[in-house]
Symmetry: C2
Subunit: 260 residues, 2 copies
């Protein structure tokens, strides 16, 4: 796909890092589209592409259109794109949460190109460690996407829509919900004037431990030990945080039942 014309629609966190990775690996991006002028210009400059901020200015001769916008914007963007009467390109989105079939009403050739990571504009990411999950309705399109993905990352998976849906739910647990538990830790410390700094090394080591091992085997703490005395002391303490207390109880019960 190296000589094919790639159009990148959306220059948010995912679009930004994906665009830069494509460029870094020698894939020319013909055009960057974003309704946010600064984003369009910024990324276009970084990858030496032209840019557009209005649909009427979009390059209609692309071979691959990558829609990298928020979940709720995927269908509206696809609809706008379909109105341009393109020449049967392959159109993919980069979302874990949206089925590929969201693109089906608009295009004959559609798929998903989903890099599984939490992206921030300001943080450099190591694409070598990012799994890319691809899917396409058509087998030869899937091959094309697999080939492209393999040049961006050594970890490439071809997933069905149902598998990607599971993966996205799992990602919410290990990323969004985990981050919320970090927040809970921060709030508990704040109440006794201790800095979050204290918890950072523990958080990092907890994540490192499961890089080689299975979390089911790494479980520690009062709940898995059946240490009712400590659990009770913690619950007494948490009377001042009723919402965290409820969460503590549910998580402890789950751990005890599943792993205790």
């Amino acid at each position: 796909m190296k000589e094919k014309k790639i159009i990148l629609i959306g220059a948010g966190n995912v679009g930004y890092h994906l665009g830069r990775r494509l460029d870094e690996k020698g894939f020319a991006i013909a055009q960057v589209f974003s309704r946010t002028f600064e984003h369009a210009e910024d990324l276009a400059e970084a990858v030496q592409a032209s840019y557009a901020t209005k649909f009427e200015d979009l390059d209609r001769e692309g071979d691959l259109y990558i829609i990298s916008v928020s979940d709720r914007a995927i269908a509206p963007v696809a609809r706008q794109l379909a109105r341009l009467e393109l020449d049967n390109p392959l159109v993919v989105h980069t979302s874990g949460a949206t089925p590929a079939t969201a693109l089906m009403p608009y295009f004959d050739r559609f798929g998903v190109f989903y890099p599984l990571q939490t992206f921030s504009r300001s943080r450099k990411v190591d694409f070598e460690a990012i799994p890319i999950c691809v899917h396409a309705a058509d087998e030869s399109d899937a091959e094309k996407l697999l080939n492209l993905a393999r040049q961006l990352s050594p970890k490439v998976y071809q997933l069905k829509d149902e598998q990607r849906a599971s993966l996205h739910v799992a990602a919410v647990f290990v990323n969004n919900f985990t981050n919320y538990l970090f927040r809970v830790g921060e709030e508990i410390l704040r109440e006794v004037d201790l800095p979050f700094e204290l918890l950072r090394p523990l958080i990092l080591e907890t994540a490192r431990k499961v890089q080689e091992q299975s979390p089911g085997e790494m479980q520690t703490g009062p709940a898995v030990r059946g240490d009712e005395k400590t659990i009770q002391r913690h619950l007494d303490y948490l009377h001042r945080f009723p919402e965290y207390r409820e969460l503590y109880q549910l998580l402890s019960r789950r751990i005890a039942e599943e792993l205790g």
Copy 2:
């Protein structure tokens, strides 16, 4: 405290790493005590100490006794130690969960020396990044422990019992409960024949992100966005995992109420 005689009681995960760090930093450990012969011998050899496996063989001339055993064994061990009629040494435990006052019935000089990390025997730990939380009933003992701690780690905190209790609850959230969420992710993937491997880079990056920033500011995902459509799709999916569904609901509600 460099010339003082240190006796280490317990050679489990914490005792093992703490003993090795003391030795590495030039503190002579006079004796290692463990009822598990292999543990006593193994650590004693590593730190060039003698070892004992019975209380009657314990060195009675220590200046500092470090009790590094499970929470439920602290009081029984302290009782045994007190029977030996020691010469008024400083006695500390290494637990985050047990108040210092658990040692009060047995010793005049007591305290806590708590390295906040998740230790496994087989994993090397970077003590430079481990906060050590100390506490002693007596101010000059506290000074001694602070001095000792500062030679093991640059991150030393003097905490009251109540603060350490808070810290331990917070640690359960960011370590034990977080690890359980990793396990949930693993189980959700298992059902659709996907490897946990897929989630590892996301887990690591989630932990890395909060090394510099506050988790309250890093929160992403459907709950904080108020993306009811995605939440509903996830809940529908989780009908096959009723226990995870309940957890998903509670966590999403907490995130929406607190950060949404």
